[in-house]
């Protein structure tokens, strides 16, 4: 993006410069080849990893969840320790609907997004008033509250044992979920990609610019007439919808929900995935989710304890040495290589 900028200095004619300005803004939203590669590889999993499609779908779902956190953290600058609240709400909405006979997947997902979005909207007014430790505690507190409710409403949710009796109807009445997870994977990929397109559009929208401004210098935003509270409330709600859809996808594709979807561990894990991959970059959540879940698959196969240790170490190292995550590090390397 700096390339247009450097050539621009040589344009003597203001009319050309104005055209360059428009081209610059449009250019930021242009698709780049690594993005195409990323989604092609994701789609090609169907052929490359036919036996790991369940894991691949998990990565996509976790990636979508992390992307939704990226919207509030990477773009909005709101640190949440309770983002699982919305993931869990979506999962339970989709799961409960299906367990009680409404097993059409797409409408189930819409409902999941709506319920999570409504709660997100309601809590956004609380969240935007707080910062610092109070913000951490309240985001965490809301998730813990819901976790506690789900745990105690054992008769409805099944508590720790999980919600029984979810079975999904064929997608669009045509494609049944199969044992190998092929349908589930394709379904997940399609939904996740659609959500990603929305997030990408948001990233390159007027609101996306407003959020970048807020992240860069929140104090200045009111001085140019922007309302931090209203911006924050909107992005928090949108992110809640997206997290709800991710949760709904998990419930539908695994046909299982337990209280764990609302737990602190899930809130912490999604934060870790995002930061590991790189916050504020749109793809960081997916990269982080892939590395995290594959690493867990391998390491916890050896011993659960070791996994916790490596996870902790990974976090410490990322914070100390790779503040922009794997993707941010790769970008910096690439930029250095280009300059050389």
């Amino acid at each position: 993006m700096t390339m247009t900028a450097t050539t621009d200095r040589t344009l003597p004619d203001p009319a050309d410069r104005r055209a360059a300005a428009h081209a610059f803004i449009a250019g930021q939203a242009r698709w780049r080849w690594p993005e195409a590669v990323f989604w092609l590889v994701a789609a090609a999993s169907l052929v490359i990893f036919p036996h790991s499609l369940v894991l691949a779908a998990q990565v996509l779902i976790a990636g979508l969840f992390a992307l939704s956190l990226d919207l509030i953290l990477g773009l909005g600058g709101i640190v949440s320790l309770g983002h699982a609240a919305f993931f869990g709400l979506g999962a339970y909405t989709a799961g409960l609907l299906a367990a009680h006979g409404w097993n059409e997947p797409l409408t189930g997902l819409v409902a999941a997004g709506l319920v999570a979005g409504l709660v997100g909207f309601a809590t956004s007014f609380i969240v935007v008033r707080l910062k610092g430790i109070a913000l951490l505690m309240v985001t965490m507190g809301v998730a813990l509250l819901l976790h506690e409710v789900a745990q105690k409403a054992h008769a409805i949710t099944g508590g720790d044992d999980g919600l029984q009796g979810i079975s999904m109807a064929p997608i669009l009445g045509l494609f049944s979920f199969d044992l190998y997870g092929r349908t589930a994977f394709i379904y997940t990929l399609a939904v996740v990609f659609a959500c990603f397109l929305v997030a990408r559009r948001l990233y390159n929208s007027p609101f996306g610019l407003a959020l970048k401004g807020m992240r860069e210098n929140g104090r200045r935003v009111p001085a140019i007439g922007g309302s931090i509270r209203r911006h924050s409330a909107l992005i928090y709600t949108i992110a809640a919808v997206m997290a709800g859809i991710a949760g709904g996808l998990l419930a539908q594709t695994t046909e299982f929900v337990s209280v764990e979807v609302l737990g602190f561990q899930r809130s912490a894990e999604v934060l870790i995935m995002l930061v590991l991959g790189g916050a504020g970059l749109l793809y960081g959540g997916f990269v982080g989710a892939a590395v995290f879940l594959v690493a867990r698959q391998i390491l916890s196969g050896i011993d659960q304890t070791y996994w916790f240790f490596w996870l902790g170490l990974m976090l410490v190292l990322v914070v100390l040495f790779a503040r922009n995550g794997l993707l941010g590090g790769a970008k910096a390397l690439l930029a250095r290589w280009r300059r050389a």
Partner: protein, 250 residues
């Protein structure tokens, strides 16, 4: 003479310390007025009170005919009361084009459109670009703000304020930290702004103050000492004693 901005009995205390004391202040429409006073006189506090960054302990603020004392900072900006900051308060990773476009989007009420492309906001981008061109930042519009030389960042501060369609512009040491030659240029830019815009500026360099201000308000220890034309202020024995005599500002 109608007032663009007016305060009545404005006070602000920090604990037992009164940093603004009963200030009655009038900024006439079209003013080119300077606010001077020794360090710690409460000049920036006064601006912060006017813009809503601080809440007054007592007193009222009126913008045009409207009482704005209780309004949030961004609502004051929407009504045309806009400021710049003494220390650069910019968006380091954004380009000037993006920053000023953002300010235009906020004014147009388009900053929460999240499903349309930014590139579709052609009018806002055009306005932003024209403003940058007018203020002399046209060639730098696409550089990251943090890579701009300091003087140009100061200009961008002013550009951001102008993008908010101010009726009243409060400039908190617009040339702070800029070399003498460049600071005169900066004030030339300010002097060329439309006459219907009312401007109040804080400045330490007395040469600049006497060159560009048509009226001067002297603030000492949070209270207005006196107010008048540059000639009146220059010959005021009180000012000479309290401020010019003892100050020694560089």
């Amino acid at each position: 003479m109608t007032s663009a901005l007016q305060t009545a009995g404005l006070c602000r205390n920090f604990g037992a310390l009164a940093v603004t004391q009963n200030v009655d202040f009038v900024l006439p429409v079209g003013a080119r007025q300077a606010l001077i006073g020794p360090n710690g006189a409460g000049k920036t506090t006064f601006i912060n009170l006017l813009t809503g960054l601080l809440q007054p302990s007592a007193g009222r603020i009126r913008l045009g005919g409207e009482d704005i004392t209780a309004l949030a900072p961004e609502m004051r900006v929407r009504r045309g009361l806009v400021r710049t900051f003494q220390i650069n308060t910019l968006f380091p990773a954004l380009t000037p084009l993006e920053a000023v476009t953002l300010a235009r989007l906020e004014q147009r009420g388009a900053s929460r459109r999240w499903l349309g492309a930014l590139s579709g906001q052609r009018a806002a981008i055009d306005e932003a670009y024209d403003l940058l061109e007018r203020i002399g930042l046209g060639a730098d519009a696409l550089q990251e703000t943090r890579s701009l030389p300091y003087g140009k960042q100061r200009l961008l501060e002013i550009a951001l304020a102008l993008a908010c369609e101010p009726r009243v512009l409060l400039l908190d040491e617009p040339a702070a930290g800029v070399p003498a030659r460049e600071s005169a240029e900066l004030f030339e830019v300010i002097a060329r702004l439309p006459r219907d815009l009312s401007i109040l500026f804080i400045e330490h360099d007395m040469e600049l103050v006497f060159r560009f201000a048509e009226r001067i308000t002297v603030l000492v220890a949070g209270a207005v000492l006196t107010e008048g034309t540059p000639a009146e202020i220059a010959s005021d024995p009180q000012v000479r004693q309290v401020y010019l005599g003892s100050a020694g500002h560089g």
